[in-house]
Structure formats: C-alpha cells, structure tokens
Symmetry: C3
Subunit: 215 residues, 3 copies
Amino acid sequence: MRYLFLSLELIGVVAFSVSGAMVSVKKNMDIFGVSLLGLVTAFGGGILRDCLLGATPPVFFTNYWMILAGLSAALIVFFVARILKERYFSNEAAIEKINNVFDALGLGAFAVTGAQIAMEAGFEKQWFLVISMGLVTAIGGGLMRDLMLREIPFVLNKRIYAIAALEGATLYYILRLLHCEQIAAALSGIALTFILRLLATRYNWNLPHPRKEGK
Amino acid sequence: MRYLFLSLELIGVVAFSVSGAMVSVKKNMDIFGVSLLGLVTAFGGGILRDCLLGATPPVFFTNYWMILAGLSAALIVFFVARILKERYFSNEAAIEKINNVFDALGLGAFAVTGAQIAMEAGFEKQWFLVISMGLVTAIGGGLMRDLMLREIPFVLNKRIYAIAALEGATLYYILRLLHCEQIAAALSGIALTFILRLLATRYNWNLPHPRKEGK
Amino acid sequence: MRYLFLSLELIGVVAFSVSGAMVSVKKNMDIFGVSLLGLVTAFGGGILRDCLLGATPPVFFTNYWMILAGLSAALIVFFVARILKERYFSNEAAIEKINNVFDALGLGAFAVTGAQIAMEAGFEKQWFLVISMGLVTAIGGGLMRDLMLREIPFVLNKRIYAIAALEGATLYYILRLLHCEQIAAALSGIALTFILRLLATRYNWNLPHPRKEGK
C-alpha cells in the first residue's frame, strides 16, 4: 500500500521535474535555475497543499530520496541538452511528446495522492477540501513554474488540464467513500486523469470559450 | 450581528468573483479558467489571511454557500458574455462601471471582515497585524488574479485602491478600540472605503509619483 | 548575541527595502506602491519562511521597529528621487552600484538569520530544511518583488545570486554543527555570501548554461 503511493509520487516527481527543467532549458537558464525550477515544478504543489492543511514544515523538506530523484531528473535534462546541443533542440517537439505522457501520469498520481493526504489529515468528510487538495497538489507546481517564468499559467490555457486532475481526484474520493479498496480507487483515479489528458491532446478537445473564434 | 458580516462577505464574494470573471472573459479563457479566476479573486485574499494567521485549513474550503455564490457569479458572467457576444463586448465599459461600484463595496466589506477575523483570532492588541489582515483580505484576491493573468497588479497602479482598503480597516479598528458598537464600526469602515474609491475614480485622484509627467 | 542578529537583520531590511523601492521608482509607481514594494522585498522572504515553519502569524507583523526601518528606507528613496529628479535618474547606475554592496550584505545576513531561526525552531537536525530556510529568507522577498513587477525573477538570471545565499547558509550550518561559536559562524557565513556576490559581479562569473552563446 505504502509502496503504491511512493511509486506514484516518484513518477509524479520525476515527470514534473523533467517538465520544469525542459521549460527552463528552452529559456537557457543556468544549471542552478534549471535545478530550482525542476524542484519547484515537482514539489510546489505539495508544499502549497501542506501549508493550506497546516502540516508545517511541508514534508518535502525532509523527503531526501524524493528531493534526490527530482534533482537528478532536472540535472539529466540539463546535461542531455548541453551535450547533445542542436540534436536536443531540434528534437524538442519529440521529447515534449514523450514528456506529455509522463506529465499526464504525474498529474493523475499527484491528484490522487493529494486527495489521500487530505483524507489522512482528518478531513475525509469535507469533500470540497479533499478534492481541492488533489487539484492543488497536481497543478500547483506547474502554476509556480509558469509564474516564475512569466508565462500565462498553462493550467488556465491548456485544454482539459486542471479539469482532468479535478476529475481524477473526485473519482478517487467517491470510490473511497463507497469503501472501494484503496489501490483500486487510486489506479482508477489516475487512469481517468491520464486518459482524459491524452484524449484531449489527441483530439484537441476544448472547453467552451466566450468567443468561439478561439484565442 | 453574524448576519451583518455574512451579508458583507456575500457582497464582497459576488463583486470580486464578477470582476475576476470579467477580466478572464476579456482574455477569452475557457469556462473552467473563468470559474477558477472568479473563485481566486473572491477567495484568494481570505485564504492568504487564514494561512498567515495559522487558521488552517482556510475557512473557504468548507464554506459551501459562499463557494456556490462565487461560482454562480462567475458562471453568469461567462454565459452572459457568451450569449450576448458583441452586445456584451461592445458594452464592456458600461458593465465595468457598474462592477466598479460593487468592487468598491466588496473592497470595504473585505477590509472590515479581515480586520474583524484577526481580532477574533486573539490579536486585537496588535494593531499592525489587524490592519494588515484587513488589507490582505481586501487586495489579496485581486493581486493573485493579476499575477495569474500576467498583468502588473493593479493594486500597485490604480489610484487610491489599496489605500482605501487600508483606511477602511484602520477606521474599523479605531472605532472598535473606542468601544463603538460593532455594526456602526463596520458600516463606517465600509463607507469610508467605498466613498474614497468612488471619489478617487470620479475625480482622478492620484498619490504622488516620483516623476510628475504621469504614468 | 541577540544584538548581532538584530543588527544583521536591520542591515538586510534596509538594503532590501532600498532595492525594492529603487525598482518601483524606476517604474514610476506612486508613494504607496513604492512603500509596499519596499516592505515586500524586505520582509517577503521572512514571511514565507515563517509560514513554511508554521510560525504564524509571521514575526514581521509585530516587529514594529523593523517595519519602521524598512518603511523609512523606502520613503527616503522615493523622496530623494522625487526631489532630485533628473539628477537621480541620470545617476541611477551609480546608485545601483552602492545598492549592490548593501544587497550583498543583506543577502548574507538574511541567509544566516533564516538558517538560525529554523534551527531555533527545533529543526537543527534537518540540514535540508535549515539551509532551505536560509535560502527562502534571503531570496523570497526579491522573488515576490519581481513577480509583482512582472519581471523574470532575477534570482533565476543573475549570476551567483541564490547560490551565494545557499553557500552562506550552508557554511553557517556546518560551523554550528562543529560547535563553532555563533558569532564566528554568522560572520563567516555572511562574509562568504558577500564575497561570492561581489566577485561574481566584478568578474562576470557565470554558472554553466545549456547553450554557450549566452542568453
């Protein structure tokens, strides 16, 4: 059980750190900036969640193996880009596609673990809080990364991103309420987020906009 | 008494959610982005205040009626804009004027309730904290909205905005210190903020700038 | 002992408030905006640290002498710029050089006091948390200032900025672990940060980037 959640978190940390590092490499940040933004993307959501739940200091700061995993992932991106140079930058689109798959997996994993942590903290009756914590854990890090890089946060733009996390956390919460086994609930929540994200990317799904002619 | 503060908060939530939604609609965000930014604008200040006071999880997350009010306000803006289309967008200036009046009311209401909550939390002796919490509650949400939309926060630009909230909270605090009745103190604080804001908009009041030649 | 840390903090507060005010004056903010950004730059890092450590409300809000010092520093910058006008703006580069020296001192002072506060809060065994709190205290305020002014945070750009704070906090922590006297440890940590920053500015040191051709 514990191992399941640890593996999920590890997937999320690595995927998000890679995505944070890739965006920083594109902006030609130095090695420290790339590491910092990798860590912020991977852990920002969890830190925010812990602050909101009053679980201070956030668990991140004593979670040495996770820090090491996130840092290594960011540094690998940095050195791969630095060594391969043009070969990296001309294939960025391809790399980003692979990264998207991991990101979708990480999104689901963080939505479920965030909801789980809120439930464990004694708020299992407060559905809105539980689901919000899933959402905050899943999108908080990406939001911070985009704020620091002065991008409009893509959680506000990218079709079916935040909403996929929201639905994954909701499904997990409902299944747990129905006394579904934790492992089955977790895998269902992650699968829902993952599939929604991939289908949305594949088929260009959009939520309704005020003006139809698009952005 | 309780009803007074509930009504004040409701006015603030609706006014701020409408203003957050209007800005997002102007940027043609999708329905989820509009809802999220409405909620962030309406509740961001209160969430920040609760975190600073250590009152976690912030009361927002269990305040279902307020959430519903904020969400409905944002969605109404979204659908009005979507249905009316050009008629909405060509009359935006007029709508914004109406919104400004509500916003001034919300600003005052949040400044007073923020100060009140800090006093109830046992800090009634610490004037700077009480007044700061009024300010944070009043301008925090708008600040987050502007950060997420990559605008220079207009609390830093708009003449006499933050300062009106600051003075409303200060007046409320002083009147309470003088054992003035809570309802009279609250209404005075709100009236001060409201009138300052409207006069400042009407007569283009400005605080001094380093260079006179304006913005 | 207490006096040492008070003086260090005072230097940090004044230096950071001046730097926040100078950036706001350059953007021609009004007197309230300049004061607010001065205070945010000076105290933002400490507020963030206290929230992360669960020490709420943050000590800033009851630290009246420090608030007064920070506010005065920001207002002096405002009035100097307003009175001298062209003479101020044409000599900004020179002023900024002086400010850089203070900023380096403040950076070191905040890195050390941040680490010290985390240790006093009972986390002296958790090296990553202690050093992180030094870093957060030192760079948090500048980060918030840059976010609010819509700049790419220069902690991500400026060579050897965050890393100087990191190394100062680390040195302080290691010396304390080795039972070095507090005053010697503090001065060593500050000196390391200070010298690293000044050397990096003087000799244009850079950390490695993914693409060599620079930004």
